[in-house]
Amino acid sequence: MTETITALSGTPTAAREPILEIRDLHVGYGYGESPVRALRGVNLTLHRGEVLGLAGESGCGKSTLAYAATRLLPPPGLIMGGEVLYHGAQGSGEPPVDILSMTDKELRASRWEDVAIVFQGAMNSLNPVYRIGRQLMDAIAAHRKDSTKAERAERARELLSMVGIAPDRVSAFPHELSGGMRQRVMIAMALALEPKVLIMDEPTTALDVVMQRQILEQVIDLRDRLGFSVIFITHDVSLLIEVADRIAIMYAGEIIEEASASDVYRRPRHPYAHGLLHSFPPLHGPKRPLAGIPGSPPDLQALPSGCPFRVRCDHVMDACSQIQPVLGPTRLNEPGRQVACLLHDAALAPTLPESLSR
């Protein structure tokens, strides 16, 4: 089964060299006394050439994380602390730069060049009154000022054929393309300057499953060829398990579990991860009754004390309301995975439930 999983997710991250490190990131919405704390101390590392999946329900802060890390967060969103380190040149020994403390000029030079983003609903983020070729060339013109127009046009054609669109469509307007093609144009645009990191925020949510699969296969193929790293954000965990090398699951503004895709799928360690995986009816295999997760996603303005998931959790203990769990090693001390749950603290919980210790 492991072979089949790598069929899509491709190259293993042998080097494990970090490219983007998010450290203790805090983000709030709104000013004054009680901002909504959308991200609370998030730590996440993206390695070179890796596809990192970010999963969670709406409102858990996954898009906020992407926008904060690229400093694209619109007001009233406010970065309240932390750093985002970008490791530019490979093995050059240069110190990493903190994206959050860049000057405007540095930021402008770095955006799209180092870290590019494919937005949620990308199909609608093309300008309807310009031909797509022009929109592709704009980004190149802004960053490669000494390029000629002919070079830029050539690059635009090359980019389109890279994502499987006939190069003569450069002169098409967005409305002349189908949803899937517009999404490909957005991906081509993000890759225009050969960024090292590509952030994809729900890139296929608005598309049909058939188109979704085609686009994902294309992104993975491009990743293998061009070697960029991807942060892939979606609420569809079953999709992530196929696409991602590693998965981080978020709940109420925190990462609650981080592990390789197959580990998350086969051996979830957090009750929420377990519940989320059992919220998707399987297409094959035995049919069994599913329960989903009782209750509703939390209100970030009125989070319960201690563990934010405790009100929906089947394994809640007394300690859960007093101690806020932090991301740490699992109880079984598995390398390469982390979980934020008190059940993994042997001093607090006598045993790990069977469903979380397989």
């Binding site: 089964m1 072979e3 089949t4 999983i5 069929a7 899509l8 329900e57 709406s58 499987g164 189908s178 899937g180 093609m181 049909d208 499953v209 058939v210 979704q212 699969r213 085609q214 296969e217 609420h235 569809d236 965990v237 079953s238 999709l239 398990i241 196929e242 799928y265 519940g275 989320l276 919220s279 998707f280 009816p281 399987p282 297409l283 094959h284 295999g285 035995p286 049919k287 069994r288 009754p289 599913l290 329960a291 989903g292 997760i293 009782p294 509703s296 996603p297």
Partner: protein, 372 residues
């Protein structure tokens, strides 16, 4: 279409969710016969139409869930709206207990609504944000049961909320913005139940909800089906949820039904090349790496000028001339499992189409064995 207790291989290995011992198939409550809807486009002088739905046959029976699966633009929501009488149809008919329905407004329409209710996709839009849950539900109760007043009305209101698993005391005076998506959808379901309907038309009832609460809504609808014997039409683009929830699944492509049968056969042994593409494309961690090559790279068809013959033919790797010229007949594969594909036609059907077996497409190993 009969509905036998299906026993495909997978179903035999693990017992199905609930014993499929539904009440022995009763007469259909709501039926569509040759239902067709064309929307005019291109202004006053234009004669072009969008072929949204072309000749759909469906039967909804009490205590049964029928899923209609298809990609966006395949016409599945139009079918629901036609059945809810929100549009007049271009052709064909809707039958309620074998009587043709023509009502579109007035008293007759209200009488129809009393029996056929609809749940919409987006509970954030389908509830009035300025009115409390109490108002929304009592209004629906008063419209459909005008004699309810006072304490009886209050009791009915509480019973409705309990039926959708919301604690009445806690939720009756809430406004939609105070509720989560799942709770709102439950209120929308309660509003539909206020009419005490025989049929629920659920148009993508879970696609706007958070993933962890979707199953809860499906389980609730399943419970209503079992306890109240309501017929449910479940419209979705997610074939895995159709397998979980529906007794029968119909797959739509470009305004036509291409395959139908009990959910287990349709998802485990998809026969039509389009259903096969759909099943193979669905994210499934257990069965990965099956490279999807058929039909890829192609776009959904232009519905103003849909392809002649089988509408899937431009994307189908097996298509032959007959697929491009003639609409495929429905072939029966097994009891109740039917597919509209020339690859399954027999000599008789080929002869009726003025050709012979050699002209039919060869599906090779993709062909599902015919057992009937």
């Amino acid at each position: 279409m009969s509905h036998p207790a299906h026993e495909s291989e997978t179903a035999a290995a693990a017992p199905p969710l609930r014993a499929t011992a539904l009440p022995p198939t009763t007469d259909p409550v709501l039926q569509a016969r040759g239902l067709t809807k064309h929307f005019p486009v291109g202004g006053m002088r234009s004669k072009s139409v969008v072929h949204a739905v072309d000749g759909i046959d469906l039967s909804l029976r009490g205590g049964q869930v029928i899923a209609l699966v298809g990609e966006s633009g395949s016409g599945k929501s139009t079918v629901a709206r036609l059945l809810a009488r929100l549009y007049p149809q271009t052709g064909g008919e809707v039958l309620l207990h074998d009587a043709p329905v023509t009502a579109l407004r007035g008293r007759a329409f209200r009488a129809y609504c009393h029996r056929v209710q609809m749940i919409f996709q987006d509970p954030f839009a389908s509830l009035n944000p300025a009115k409390s849950v109490r108002y929304t539900l009592t209004r629906s109760l008063r419209i459909h049961q005008p004699k309810l007043r006072g304490a009886k009305l209050e009791a009915a209101l509480y019973a409705l909320l309990e039926r959708v698993q919301l604690q009445p005391e806690r939720y009756v005076d809430k406004f939609p913005h105070e509720l989560s998506g799942g709770q709102r959808q439950r209120v929308a379901i309660a509003r539909a139940l206020a009419a005490d309907p025989e049929v629920l038309l659920a148009d993508e009832p879970i696609s706007m909800l958070d993933v962890s609460i979707r199953i809860g809504i499906l389980n609730l609808l399943q419970d209503l089906r079992d306890r109240l014997g309501i017929a449910i039409l479940y419209i979705t683009h997610d074939i895995a949820s159709a397998r979980y929830f529906a007794d029968e699944t119909h797959v739509m492509y470009a305004g036509r039904i291409v395959e139908s049968g009990d959910s287990e056969s349709v998802t485990q042994q998809p026969a039509h090349p389009y259903t096969q593409l759909l099943v193979r494309s669905a994210p499934d961690p257990e069965h990965m790496g099956g490279n999807v090559t058929q039909g890829r790279g192609a776009e959904p068809p232009n519905m103003v000028r849909p392809p002649t013959g089988c509408r899937f033919n431009p994307r189908c790797p097996f298509a032959t001339d007959i697929c491009r010229e003639q609409v495929p007949v429905l072939a029966e594969l097994a009891d109740g499992h039917r597919v509209a594909c020339w690859g399954y036609a027999d000599a008789e059907q080929a002869a009726a189409a003025g050709t012979d077996l050699s002209a039919l497409p060869v599906l090779g190993e993709n062909k599902v064995e015919v057992t009937s």
